[in-house]
């Protein structure tokens, strides 16, 4: 039985050096909790893509991750430009990334599709000029 657990992280936009810190910490925490390796990998990939999106596009975000006996839930709530067309952003290859983001190995239009592929449930709410809230759930059993 997995013990309930939750923790929040702040992610700074434009801070490429720290990009990936929250996701790698979450991955280590999940390992300590004894979660199945395949589930950890899916959570880590989805969280890392979400974290990179914040670093690339937003000013700041709070990432909250919660583990219950049934599921792992991650909420990434950012203050940023928002997504004008979510359907378009969900298409593989669609991207508004700059050259700097591409030099980091990201911005190829794979972020949200990768998150969708790894999460069992994904909900995106976005307001242009205000921010984006991503809620993902990965079931444990």
């Amino acid at each position: 039985m997995v013990m309930p657990f939750s923790q929040s992280f702040t992610i700074e936009g434009r801070n490429f050096f720290n990009a990936g810190k929250a996701s790698t910490e979450i991955k280590s925490l999940l390992k300590q909790l004894g979660i199945d390796a395949m589930i950890i990998r899916r959570v880590a990939i989805a969280t890392y893509e979400a974290e990179m999106n914040v670093v690339m596009y937003a000013q700041q975000a709070v990432l909250t991750f919660e583990v219950t006996p049934e599921a792992i839930r991650i909420v990434v709530d950012d203050r940023g430009p928002g997504i004008p067309n979510i359907d378009l952003a969900m298409q593989e290859g669609y991207s508004t990334a700059t050259a700097e983001m591409r030099e980091m190995g990201f911005g190829a239009g794979m972020g949200l599709p990768n998150i969708k592929k790894n999460a069992d449930e994904l909900k995106i709410e976005s307001a242009v000029g205000k921010g984006t809230k991503l809620q993902m759930t990965i079931f444990i059993n």
């Binding site: 990936g20 991955k27 990998r41 990939i45 893509e49 980091m104 190995g105 190829a108 794979m110 592929k117």
Partner: protein, 127 residues
């Protein structure tokens, strides 16, 4: 499947960190400069060949459970990248070969791709 030492020998690698893990088994090979592609198409236990030598390569490898990274075309990681790889226990190697040649050498030596295709694609190269 082959050992990291075999990969290192085949590609005439310089080892930047992770000397002690050279006897580790590598099940698959993958190659990309796009980290999202690595996250989407890699598998646990693979070696990653890449020309991207920054800190995101190491973060991506840790997240995707990449066993080792080989930088191609003589690219060298800086100290921050090596320090993070050391902390995450991910061996970093470098080869003078280009991505194309490095992939070719490992593929010819029998290292399987991380990709899973239908039968028509999987047997195509053998015709």
């Amino acid at each position: 499947m082959m050992s990291l030492l075999e990969i290192s020998d085949l590609l005439l690698c310089e080892v930047f960190t992770g000397e002690e893990k050279l006897d580790g088994r590598i099940e698959y090979g993958c190659a990309s400069d796009l980290m999202s592609d690595v996250l989407a198409f890699s598998r646990s236990g693979a070696v990653l060949l890449t020309g991207l030598v920054n800190i995101q390569t190491v973060h991506t490898a840790f997240i995707a459970e990449i066993q080792a990274i080989v930088f191609v075309r003589g690219k060298k990681p800086d100290q921050e990248v090596v320090a993070l790889a050391k902390q995450k226990k991910i061996p970093l190697l470098g080869t003078a070969f280009s991505m194309y040649e490095a992939c070719g050498i490992l593929y010819k030596a029998g290292l399987t791709s991380t990709m899973e295709y239908g039968e028509s694609l999987a047997t195509h190269g053998e015709k």
